[in-house]
């Protein structure tokens, strides 16, 4: 049977072809298909880490994590999505806005993964959904860690907040190669400490390796690696002091910074008014956000590092140091103050705040009574170049370097020739220099800069960079991070200043509070501890020649800003503060009153000493 034999040979040939194919698949390309098969069945589910807790210096939690429950849906699995959503409406009070948001959000999630549909379910909604769960096979309730700020408005400008990761965040994370740490995480630090220490707070996600079937349903768990929680952070902030200051500033547009001058720890940083960061955690509604944006008191604005104000007379101690060191004046130099200073060779007169003048004034007295004419002349003699150079050493016109600085801090302006040329395309005029001498003109500073300059003065020229982080409680990353042993910078120029000049400036500030002519003597009367300070009143509204300032006659937003810097105890300072009250009137009375209470609270532990408000008079001098 030849044909049958031929057929048999044909069968053999075809079987050999099959064997070659199988050899190729199962032996030659085994590892390729093996890998492929594993990829098929193994799915890695990220477990987002818990965010580190933020505490104040005494261990009071300022930012914590709560578990909230949200409704999640796998839209790709549901054929009649719109029907299901419509059915859900009544069960969990689903609004049209939430459905819209979900439809937008969907695109940001990979196919066949859970997309949040409704956040923060109430117990009642959870109960109602659970009863109806059988009708919604691909909708489930999931517990999520949720950032919560228990003190709400108190520390918003320091802590910032976390909010949804947006496209810009995503692009940045991809660029920094951190995006894989954010799989499964929906929120990221947007502002303040939450943003600056994002890497420390966030932690490292864990994962769950599960075997899934072809419909991505979990069959069993193969492996699990727990997430590493973010590190806890201890801030230098003293919550009690912060809250106390916040109460003092209630209803005012104001900023206060309190620093421990010994190490640069920021004890309090209050920008008033503030807003509730909790609004942002789940995404703020457009209506609420617009309300914050259009609020004339600008609650979103962090006045402590973004507000720029003319530092006014608070800069006089620093200028005195510069003038003494440059030999423009000596400790014995005496000028006669007739109530004005006339720019040589011109008719231009610059008035003192005291119309009839202070008479004979030396440098100590110039600080005690805040004699403007003394500083007009000193500024004239120093010139803008030297003035600007010295004030830059005190940190004016520079970022302070506080640990939320890089993204939010305003440098403000320490004017000089180049600056004016660049800004106004005009040459610097001699007349521009004179108001700079009393912290006015083009000069602006932030409350934090003013506090930092004060700590430099207290430390005889040593810079203690202000910082908010005290330390981290390290759990996984080995040694914790501490900012208290930061290298402290020293500028050679300031170190060359003679010790007695520092003493002159500090003594002058002491006399502001205790001298018979001290501008703040009434407010600081009967202090059980010793302190020093300097008032300032920044003009918002240029007075016409011979016009008398009367707060009652001009609109509130044109009134002067009240400023005050102070430190205590005088011999061994443990706190340095700067106070700015927008349109607060006189710095010596209104700013001083706030400063006194803060110092009392800090030094004495409470605000037991009452100040007789009736002794305060407007425009008492600054």
């Amino acid at each position: 049977m030849r044909r049958a034999l031929i057929a048999f040979l044909g069968v053999i040939v075809l079987i050999v072809i099959l064997l070659i194919t199988l050899t190729h698949l199962q032996i030659t390309r085994y590892s390729y298909y093996s890998t492929r098969s594993n990829e098929n069945r193994i799915k890695v589910i990220p477990i987002p880490p818990n965010r580190g807790i933020i505490y104040d210096r005494n261990g009071i939690p300022l930012a914590i994590n709560n578990t909230v429950y949200q409704l999640e849906i796998i839209p790709d699995r549901i054929k009649n999505l719109n029907e299901q959503l419509a059915e859900l409406k009544t069960i969990v009070d689903l609004t049209d806005e939430e459905i819209d948001n979900f439809q937008k959000e969907r695109r940001n999630y990979p196919a066949s993964s859970s997309v949040p549909l409704k956040y923060k379910l109430t117990e009642k909604q959870i109960a109602r959904f659970v009863v109806n769960q059988y009708r919604f096979p691909f909708i489930s309730i999931a517990g999520k860690q949720h950032r919560y700020y228990p003190y709400a408005t108190t520390l918003t400008h320091v802590l910032g907040y976390v909010s949804k990761i947006n496209d810009r965040d995503k692009a940045r994370l991809i660029e920094e190669r951190k995006i894989k740490d954010y799989i499964g995480t929906s929120n990221i630090g947007k502002l303040g400490i939450e943003r600056y220490y994002e890497d420390i707070l966030h932690g490292i996600p864990g994962y769950q390796e599960v075997e899934v079937d072809s419909r991505s349903r979990i069959v069993r768990q193969l492996d699990e690696s727990p997430p590493k929680v973010g590190e806890d952070i201890y801030l230098t902030i003293d919550l009690k002091l912060q809250q106390y200051i916040e109460r003092l500033l209630a209803g005012k547009r104001a900023a206060v910074v309190a620093i421990n001058p010994n190490n640069g720890e920021v004890l309090a940083m209050v920008s008033s008014p503030s807003y509730d960061p909790n609004l942002f955690v789940d995404g703020i509604s457009a209506k609420e956000y617009n309300a914050l944006l259009s609020d004339p008191d600008k609650p979103l604005f962090n006045r402590t590092i973004q507000g720029t104000y003319p530092p006014a007379s608070t800069v006089k101690p620093f200028i005195a140091i510069a003038a003494l060191s440059e030999g423009v004046i000596t400790t014995d130099t005496v000028f006669n103050d007739n109530g004005y200073w006339q720019l040589p060779n011109t008719d231009k007169r610059y008035r003192d705040w005291l119309r009839w003048g202070h008479g004979r004034v030396d440098v100590t007295r110039s600080l005690e009574s805040s004699v403007d004419t003394f500083y007009y002349r000193v500024a004239y003699d120093l010139g803008i170049d030297r003035l600007s150079k010295w004030m830059t050493q005190f940190g004016f016109g520079e970022r302070t370097g506080i640990d939320i600085s890089s993204t939010e801090e305003n440098r403000a302006i320490m004017p000089n020739r180049e600056w004016k040329q660049q800004r106004y395309k005009q040459a610097w005029l001699q007349g521009d220099t004179i108001p700079v001498g009393i912290g006015q003109g083009y000069w602006t500073a932030t409350p934090l800069q003013m506090a930092k300059a004060l700590t430099i003065l207290i430390n005889d020229g040593q810079t203690k960079t202000p910082h908010l982080l005290m330390n981290t409680r390290s759990t996984h990353f080995g040694e914790g991070l501490s900012l208290n042993d930061l290298p402290q910078t020293m500028s050679p120029l300031l170190l060359s200043v003679k010790e007695k000049y520092w003493d002159v400036a500090k003594n002058g500030m002491f006399k502001v509070l205790y001298g018979s002519q001290g501008t703040a003597r009434r407010i600081f009367a009967n202090m059980p501890y010793r302190a020093a300070g300097k008032s300032g009143t920044a003009q918002v509204y240029g007075l016409k020649m011979d016009e008398v300032y009367n707060a009652k006659n001009i609109p509130e937003h044109l009134r002067d800003h009240a400023l005050f810097i102070a430190f205590a105890p005088y011999d061994k300072p443990n706190i340095a503060i700067s106070v700015v009250i927008e349109n607060g009137g006189s710095g010596s009375s209104n700013g001083g009153a706030v400063a006194r209470r803060i110092l009392d609270f800090y030094e004495l532990g409470d605000a037991s000493i009452q100040i007789d408000e009736s002794i305060l008079k407007m425009r008492q001098g600054d």
Binding site: R3, I15, S37, V212, S214
Partner: protein, 368 residues
């Protein structure tokens, strides 16, 4: 003693060797089916019933002498054509194709009957005028083959129609037509391919062929099955992942894992070794079938037994070829192994006919 023993198998018209290989393959099938069905007892129960029914049909078919088949072939062929027309007109639609005829108590595929009816009819037609067939008879034979083939292709069921055509052509080949004719036919078929491609094939069939050559083009659509199947086979390696341990099949990445793609389950769980064992069993069965054909004493028996055996092998080749990615996915089950009643029973019926040819020859020779 020897005479008595032989007479026992002859009495019940069973070839013991052929039966042995069939039983081993059926056992192998049941073993892998437990895994491929996802350990579904109900499916195993039905599978067992199918095997029992199949064995009964084989036994039954073996009892009729070859002459009976030769006589009844034209009637079976005509009944088959009627049923195929009925299916096209009023058949039950399943997965977009009309293949099933629902008789109320049983659903079956008339195309399975065609798999038997066509080779029988062709063998009888050729045998009537003696082998090798004349040119005119060869042309007539081709028409006999073409009618049911086209009817099945219209259902549409490309895989089965190819098998039906092939079953007829094998008979012609074994009947000994000249090589010149075979060569001419091959050229004709080759030139017919483009016509089939552009005018006769459905879009989904063209897509399947396209997918064969580049499954990665559409990894989640048409190429998905091939990619998953190749992954299952390849990841089995030499020794396999073990029974019930195949992740591709157990986790349902593999489509139609208990029917057309059952070979992938075997290759994944039992590896290269398991596949070779299976192929060896098939080869044993085919060798025995061809030996039976060679020993057949009539031309009718010779060409029929050979044709039925070869078509059985073609099933095997097309199925394994398609799941391992060298042939298009045309929906041909793996004979004896895949789940499916109609197919198994038709196959066992053809085995019964082969056994009948073998076991009736002595009686035939005595009679003559």
């Amino acid at each position: 003693m020897k005479e008595k023993k032989v007479s026992f198998w002859t009495k019940i018209h069973i070839d013991p060797l052929f039966l042995l290989f069939t039983l081993i393959l059926l056992a192998y099938s049941a073993y892998i089916m437990w895994s491929a069905s996802g350990q579904d007892p109900a499916m195993m129960q039905r599978k067992t019933i199918q095997i029992m029914l199949g064995l009964f049909v084989m036994l039954l078919m073996a009892q009729f002498p070859p002459r009976f088949y030769e006589q009844w072939a034209p009637y079976l062929y005509i009944v088959c054509l009627i049923l195929l027309v009925l299916v096209d007109v009023m058949g039950h639609t399943s997965k977009g194709a009309q293949r099933w005829l629902n008789l109320g108590f049983i659903r079956f595929q008339p195309s399975e009957i065609a798999k038997i009816a066509v080779p029988l009819m062709v063998a009888r037609f050729i045998n009537r005028d003696g082998c090798p067939p004349s040119f005119k008879n060869t042309l007539l034979t081709l028409i006999i083959i073409a009618i049911p083939t086209l009817l099945v292709a219209m259902q549409p069921d490309l895989g089965t129609s190819i098998l039906i055509a092939a079953s007829g052509l094998f008979i012609i080949f074994l009947a000994g037509i000249s090589w010149r004719l075979i060569t001419t036919a091959c050229i004709l078929v080759a030139s017919f391919v483009p016509i089939m491609w552009f005018f006769l094939m459905h879009d989904y069939q063209r897509e399947r062929v396209n997918t064969l050559f580049n499954p990665e083009l559409d990894p989640l659509g048409k190429g998905y099955h091939i990619i998953q199947s190749k992954t299952a086979i390849g990841s089995g390696g030499i020794w396999g992942k073990g029974w019930l341990e195949g992740t591709q099949s157990q986790l349902e990445f593999l489509p139609e894992r208990h029917t057309d793609f059952i070979f992938s389950v075997i290759a994944e769980e039992f590896g290269f070794i398991g596949a070779i064992v299976l192929l060896t069993l098939f080869l044993c069965l085919i060798s025995r079938g061809l030996i039976i054909a060679a020993q057949a004493q009539t031309a009718f028996g010779r060409i029929l037994a050979g044709g039925l055996t070869l078509i059985f092998f073609i099933y095997v080749f097309i199925n394994i070829g398609m799941v391992s990615g060298i042939l298009p996915v045309v929906g041909v089950p793996l004979p004896l192994i895949s789940y499916g009643g109609s197919s198994l029973i038709a196959l066992m019926a053809s085995f019964g006919i082969i056994m009948s040819i073998h076991t009736h020859k002595r009686m035939l020779s005595k009679n003559i």
